[in-house]
């Protein structure tokens, strides 16, 4: 039993409304050029700004930092403001370091289907795995300003119990711009990416630095 298993327990789940209707748009695989643009990503480096709109807070919780991804299952999310903390994921092993609080914890996602699904979806989005996403979500896309906006509505548990929909905004060259996650209880988080660099291999030192769980 681990922290995530208990946090993700159905007993803790809030009462939630049914999934909403999805706006009409084209299926992702029917949008010309989308699949090619949102091609598979082997590595990704980017700066991020995350804004969480949570009902228990007076104002959105905004944090900034950098994200590092290596296909298929390595992720390092380093928050730099307002506090320094990082999440490192390798496979199903997760390490959370809260530097300002001097706390560190390790866990295994294997114990929680919900946590595992949440993380798997993040990895699929960062990796541009539209094929895999299409199997888990109803994926539709529509033109949006200079590129596309993909809307992903979960089809299967456990994500249907947590997420209403995800919206992924892409630049015309397929670069990830923004991921917005709307939860069933009305809370939402928006993560915007800048200075994105894809498919540049990590050095051994970077691998050790970012991806040691």
């Amino acid at each position: 039993m681990t922290l995530l298993a208990c946090l993700a327990s159905p007993a803790m789940a809030a009462e939630v409304p049914a999934a909403p209707a999805v706006p009409l748009s084209q299926p992702c695989d029917k949008v010309p050029g989308l699949v090619q643009a949102f091609a598979e990503v082997s590595t990704l480096r980017a700066a991020f700004t995350d804004s969480k709109d949570i009902a228990i807070l007076d104002a959105p919780l905004v944090s900034k930092g950098h994200v590092y991804y290596q296909r298929p299952d390595r992720l390092h999310l380093a928050t730099e403001t307002p506090s320094r903390q990082s999440v490192t994921l390798v496979g199903t092993r997760v390490r959370v370091v809260q530097e300002d609080l001097g706390r560190e914890q390790a866990m295994d996602l294997g114990v929680s289907d919900v946590a595992k699904a949440v993380v798997a979806n993040i990895l699929l989005v960062l990796g541009g795995r539209i094929d895999a996403l299409s199997a888990l979500y109803r994926c539709t896309a529509e033109p949006d300003r200079d590129a596309w906006r993909m809307t992903l509505v979960p089809l299967r548990e456990p994500m249907t119990k947590v997420v209403r929909q995800m919206q992924v905004r892409l630049a015309r060259d397929g670069t990830l711009r923004e991921v917005r996650v709307e939860e069933l209880d009305g809370d939402a988080s928006t993560m915007s990416f800048t200075a994105t660099v894809t498919n540049r291999p990590f050095t051994d030192q970077e691998v050790r630095s970012y991806f040691t769980p």
Partner: protein
């Protein structure tokens, strides 16, 4: 009669042995109460697909094993009900688990600064990807008490849980599915353990075939070692006793070629061994495999009495006046000297702290006395029947050119003396490098394949990182839990200071009810904490009105509506197994255990154990080794005492110092050479080597008494040479056979006594040549 194979039964009695018994009750590691099964995935199955296939296989296997009725528990992962049970039992009590030092920490937590820090943590946590999961709890637990409790448990007992995939346990690399079983029968019920092992192998084979093949089974557990150890012991006993008997028969026939003598020589020995087995079985109800293996070949040594007596009874009477009576007296004296020296040696050895050594000593004393009694009671009346018949060809032994060989040796008396002196000096020079065995596994090492499998399976479980055990006890479980709380606090302080090891235990999962009550009392003593919490929430940017569930929980805790969690709450739930794994009752007391990692520095846990025995520190592997060595020095001194007793006995019987010296010299020299040889070869001396030395002493005394006795007529002195040769040969071959046993301890006895007996024979004849030349008493 039950055959024992547990090598720890050989270890000394006393407090340390009781500790070992306690460590055997430690269930948390899973190895002492059943079998740990490891199913390796084939290379063709990778990732989640492979893990899913392995999970399906172990589910089927677990179902089969449960249905077999041979297992009381078969667990392949965390029970699905565990999370729900945990929420149900712990979430309402989360405020009773706030702190290990509630009187100081709870007022600090609910101070404006404390609340600001706690809510800052909550905000930080809400920035993590796990926020969607965490915020479900936030309104009922903004100070993150439940999250902290979960974290403490994860840092504690949960560290012992293997990695999980879809509710199934796996090794850290995800390539091995793990199943923990508890057998219905105790580990030392070999029949039941054998059946359980067979069921595991058979059902795995079927499930593997169903899954397309390629999975690999490995398993370990005390039961497997016991079954294999018994198998080895039985095979060794059967092999050693059969081979020793056949070898003794062949040697006897080669020397005397008289079948009736063979029967007469074997009857006393067989009866002697039977009496020893019967007495021990009736007295204890069981005999250790090592005793039987050792005793089974005693037949070779025990044959000395009937061989010498038969030789004497068949010897042609000396016509000189009084010679016959003198020879009869000498025969009795030599036989009595033989049995008395053996009994004296083993009686002293019976003072050993090792129960196993005492058992061997008792077996040898009873066996030798019985053989002696049967020999001296039944053989003399048969003398008329034993006399050589007219025209009968003399036995081959009488044609051995012993006198010529002795005469040839006597011509090189000086060279012999120099050779013996050099051997003695060289052996004495090697003695300082002698070292005592400190590893119990050297006495009965398992099969290499089994040991390798055991190491592999252990390495796949997190418990392998926690080799040490700390046991806290109390008159009842609550008292033991309270002591365990103190142990956990001590260990946490050492770990935080970097001077103590990592540890995992029951404390975060189940502190004593008294500590939980202290938490609730400390909350009740706060002056209306809800006001402070509301203010802090507003200051930190939260909406206080959303946090009503927390204010309700706070009121419940303060107003006595929260009861501490007690062990009975866990019974019958999915969490009961954790309690069961970390607690047990023994000796009218309750015990709670904590597992600790390897030493971070020598003495890193010094001062943790209490002199009154209420807190014990165990390192089971080191404990066994310390038990093995603890009394070896004592056994060494007992053997030295046995040698001295024999020296005094022989001196008293021989009366003439030169004759006593000649009688003892070959034996003492052999003991010195064998011990020096063991030291020179770098072989650690174990307590069974020491027993072997005593056996060489007893055999040597017999040989010396007969071969160097000029008063025993035709059956003494050089006339005893054929029987002395036969005695030495049967002892050497019988015990030498043990060298081929699978049980390490028996093999070491075999080499020692086998080589020792050959040396003994050579040196006894050499001494005879030095002392008397080739002259026969009558010649």
């Amino acid at each position: 009669m039950r055959l024992e194979t547990d090598i720890t039964k050989f270890l000394p009695d006393g407090e340390a042995r009781q500790r070992l018994a306690l460590s055997g009750l430690v269930k948390a590691t899973g190895f002492s109460r059943g079998l740990v099964i490891d199913v390796a995935l084939p290379d063709r199955l990778q990732g989640d697909l492979g893990a899913d296939a392995a999970a399906a296989l172990v589910d089927g296997l677990a179902s089969d094993l449960t249905a077999s009725g041979l297992f009381t528990s078969v667990r392949s992962g965390t029970e699905t009900a565990m999370t729900a049970d945990f929420q149900r039992l712990y979430f309402p009590r989360r405020l009773a688990f706030l702190s290990d030092a509630p009187t100081t920490q709870i007022p600090r937590l609910f101070s404006p600064e404390g609340l600001a820090a706690a809510l800052g943590r909550l905000k930080d946590a809400l920035m993590l990807p796990s926020a969607p999961l965490l915020k479900r709890l936030a309104t009922a637990d903004p100070v993150l008490s439940f999250t902290d409790l979960l974290q403490r448990i994860q840092d504690g007992a949960a560290k012992l849980a293997p990695r999980q995939h879809a509710g199934h346990w796996f090794s850290a690399d995800g390539r091995h599915a793990m199943v923990l079983t508890e057998t219905a029968a105790p580990a030392f019920d070999t029949d039941a353990q054998r059946a359980a092992i067979a069921a595991v192998r058979e059902r795995f084979a079927a499930r593997d075939a169903e899954a397309g093949g390629g999975f690999t089974l490995a398993f370990t557990g005390l039961g497997r070692f016991v079954v294999e150890s018994e198998g080895r012991a039985k095979a060794d006993i059967a092999f050693a006793s059969t081979a020793a008997t056949i070898a003794s028969v062949l040697l006897f026939l080669a020397f005397f070629r008289r079948l009736r003598f063979l029967v007469l020589a074997f009857i006393p020995v067989t009866l002697g061994v039977a009496v020893a087995v019967g007495v021990l079985a009736g007295w204890k109800g069981s005999i250790h495999g090592l005793t039987l293996g050792f005793g089974g070949v005693l037949i070779g040594a025990g044959m000395d009495y009937p061989i010498h007596l038969l030789n004497g009874l068949r010897a042609p009477p000396d016509m000189a006046p009084g010679a016959e009576a003198r020879a009869a007296r000498a025969m009795r004296r030599n036989l009595w000297a033989g049995v008395l020296s053996s009994v004296a040696g083993f009686l002293i050895l019976a003072l050993s702290d090792y129960p196993g050594i005492r058992e061997i000593a008792a077996f040898c004393i009873i066996g030798m006395l019985s053989t002696f009694a049967f020999t001296t009671l039944f053989l003399p009346p048969l003398r008329p029947w034993l006399a050589p018949r007219t025209g009968q060809r003399p036995p081959p032994a009488s044609r051995l050119p012993i006198e010529r060989a002795l005469a040839a040796l006597a011509r090189h008396r000086t060279a012999l003396l120099i050779g013996m002196a050099v051997l003695a000096l060289a052996s004495a020079a090697a003695l300082p490098s002698l070292r005592l065995e400190d590893d119990a596994r050297a006495l009965d090492a398992g099969a290499p394949a089994t040991l390798a499998e055991d190491a592999t399976v252990r390495s796949h479980l997190p418990t392998s990182a926690f080799p040490r055990v700390i046991l806290a006890s109390g008159a009842d479980l609550q008292e033991a839990l309270a002591r365990n709380d103190a142990v956990a606090a001590d260990l946490a302080a050492r770990k935080a200071a970097g001077t103590g090891p990592d540890f995992a235990g029951l404390h975060p999962f189940l502190p004593a009810a008294a500590l939980q009550s202290e938490n609730l009392a400390a909350l009740a003593a706060l002056p209306d904490p809800a006001v402070a919490v509301r203010s802090a929430l507003a200051t930190a940017g939260f909406k206080p009105e959303r946090f009503q569930p927390f204010f309700d929980a706070l009121a419940d805790a303060r107003e006595g509506r929260v009861a501490p969690l007690v062990p009975s709450d866990l019974k019958g739930t999915a969490l009961g197994g954790i309690l069961d794994g970390f607690t047990f009752d023994q000796g009218g007391r309750s015990w709670v255990l904590t597992l600790a990692g390897p030493e971070v520095a020598p003495g890193d846990l010094d001062g943790l154990a209490r002199d009154d025995g209420t807190v014990l520190l165990l390192d089971p592997r080191a404990l066994v080794s310390s038990l093995v060595t603890s009394s070896q020095r004592q056994t060494l001194w007992l053997v030295v005492a046995g040698i001295l007793a024999n020296v005094l006995l022989i001196a008293a019987l021989r009366r003439r110092p030169r004759l006593a010296l000649a009688t003892l010299a070959p034996t003492l020299l052999t003991l010195l050479i064998v011990t020096g040889g063991i030291a020179a070869l770098g072989v650690p001396l174990n307590f069974l080597h020491l027993v072997s030395l005593l056996l060489i002493l007893c055999t040597g005394t017999d040989l010396g008494m007969f071969l160097l006795d000029e008063d025993a007529g035709a059956a003494g002195g050089a006339g005893a040479a054929p029987t002395v040769l036969l005695s030495a040969a049967t002892t050497a071959v019988s015990f030498g056979i043990l060298a081929f046993c699978q049980t390490s301890a028996l093999a070491s006895v075999g080499v020692t006594v086998g080589v020792g007996s050959v040396l003994l024979g050579v040196l006894t004849f050499a001494t005879r040549a030095v002392a008397h030349g080739g002259r026969h008493a009558g010649s």
